[in-house]
Amino acid sequence: MKKLVLLLIAFAWTSSSCEKDDICDANTVTTPRLVIDFYDVTNPTVKKTVTNLAIVGEGLTEGILFNGVSQIKVPLNPGADISQYHFILNYQNTNTELIDEDEMKFSYTRKNIYVSRACGFKTLFALNATNPVEQTDSPTAEGLWMKTITVTQPNITNENETHLSISF
């Protein structure tokens, strides 16, 4: 009997001490970013890398810089139905003539989906069927550097597929 009681006490201690499983695993798919692939406008099947592309959110000062990549991941705002960015090519280049800035406005609908106790919820986006992306040449009219923008996957549920294809 004594042995059994000791066993029960031991069981109680072990089961009460190993409970902290409340950390959201890094491999869990949570709120995805918008995945954009860049293509060569003269040869639309060939991917093209961007040189010092800075994307700066509207009203924000700090941007995200991409260099030498043909694919970028853009965080969308889960708190609003639009996300506005300045896409600046050749950011802070000494030759100011090379700097080209286009304004991008992504419009979408949002859905909050339950993930788990540790991760809480995630937001999934679906680009609007009409005017999913609005491109304007600002602040100076130096011409649009992105020539064509095609929606390849309007439902943004993960980062494993390309949502937008842009050629320049």
Partner: protein, 254 residues
């Protein structure tokens, strides 16, 4: 959840009470005068035992996020087998880092206990194992949640106040029980038990999950769970029966 002080207190109290109960009974064993060539006749009492889970009851007072009551009962069927069950109601609010919700509902568990302990003479203690089948019917309210965003470029998301209610939820599970019951004073028993649960059916709400099930307790990634109960119960004797094998008693007396 580390063992809370009150929990620890109750736990020690059980052990102390149990020890006291056993000590108090110890001298009795030697008192009946045994005539030579006759063996003492062991008489077992049969009846119904009803009680309450003090752990749930006391927790309702110190934990503002918890209200619960559990009535426990068993009926002695044979020398070692007891039909056992629990009936309870719980109202639990959980405030996790990313989620806050409330679960409330009623549950019922039925099954058996098997006493492993060989009692001396008129002792009626139990060291038992058993099984239960549990059924719970409950509702949930998702109070608030936050969005998990690994790249909060536009700033951290504020917590979303939801207040969404999910009715008509249910779950069923199997429990394996191991516990102890000791007679402290006439017909009063104190005991505790540990339970390992495995879900067999779980009706989840859409776009949320049953993170707490009344009677089952917290759920984990898989289907397993765990429980504990600390009960005080009263035995209502119905009839007595002589044991068929009284020879067991002297063999034990060394």
């Amino acid at each position: 959840m580390k063992m809370k002080p009150t929990f620890r207190f109750l736990f020690s109290l059980t052990l102390v009470l149990m020890a006291a109960g056993m000590l108090a009974q110890a001298p009795k064993k030697e008192t009946p005068p045994i005539k030579k060539d006759t063996l003492p006749v062991k008489v077992s009492r049969f009846g119904v035992r009803v009680g309450a889970d003090l752990y749930k009851l006391s927790r309702s007072f110190y934990d503002k996020n918890y209200k619960g009551l559990e009535i426990v009962g068993d009926y002695r069927l044979t020398k070692r087998y007891y039909i056992a069950g629990e009936l309870g109601n719980e109202n639990k609010t959980v405030e996790d880092d990313r989620l806050a919700f409330n679960t409330k509902g009623t549950y019922f568990k039925a099954g058996f206990d098997y006493n492993l302990y060989d009692n001396w003479l008129d002792m009626e203690n139990m060291v038992y194992v058993g099984m239960r089948y549990g059924v719970s019917s409950f509702s949930q309210t998702l109070n608030s949640y936050s969005i998990y965003n690994r790249y909060p470029y536009f700033g951290a998301e504020p917590t979303i106040i939801a207040g969404e209610k999910f009715n008509g939820l249910s779950a069923q599970w199997i429990e394996v029980v191991a516990g102890v019951k000791a007679k402290v004073i006439n017909n009063f028993y104190v005991g505790f038990s540990f339970r390992v649960n495995k879900l067999v059916a779980n009706k989840r709400p859409t776009n949320f999950d049953n993170l707490y099930i009344p009677g089952f307790n917290r759920t984990y990634e898989g289907t397993f769970g765990a429980g504990f109960n600390y009960s005080v119960s009263y035995f209502i004797p119905l009839y007595k029966k002589k044991d068929l094998l009284p020879a067991v008693a002297p063999k034990k007396k060394k």
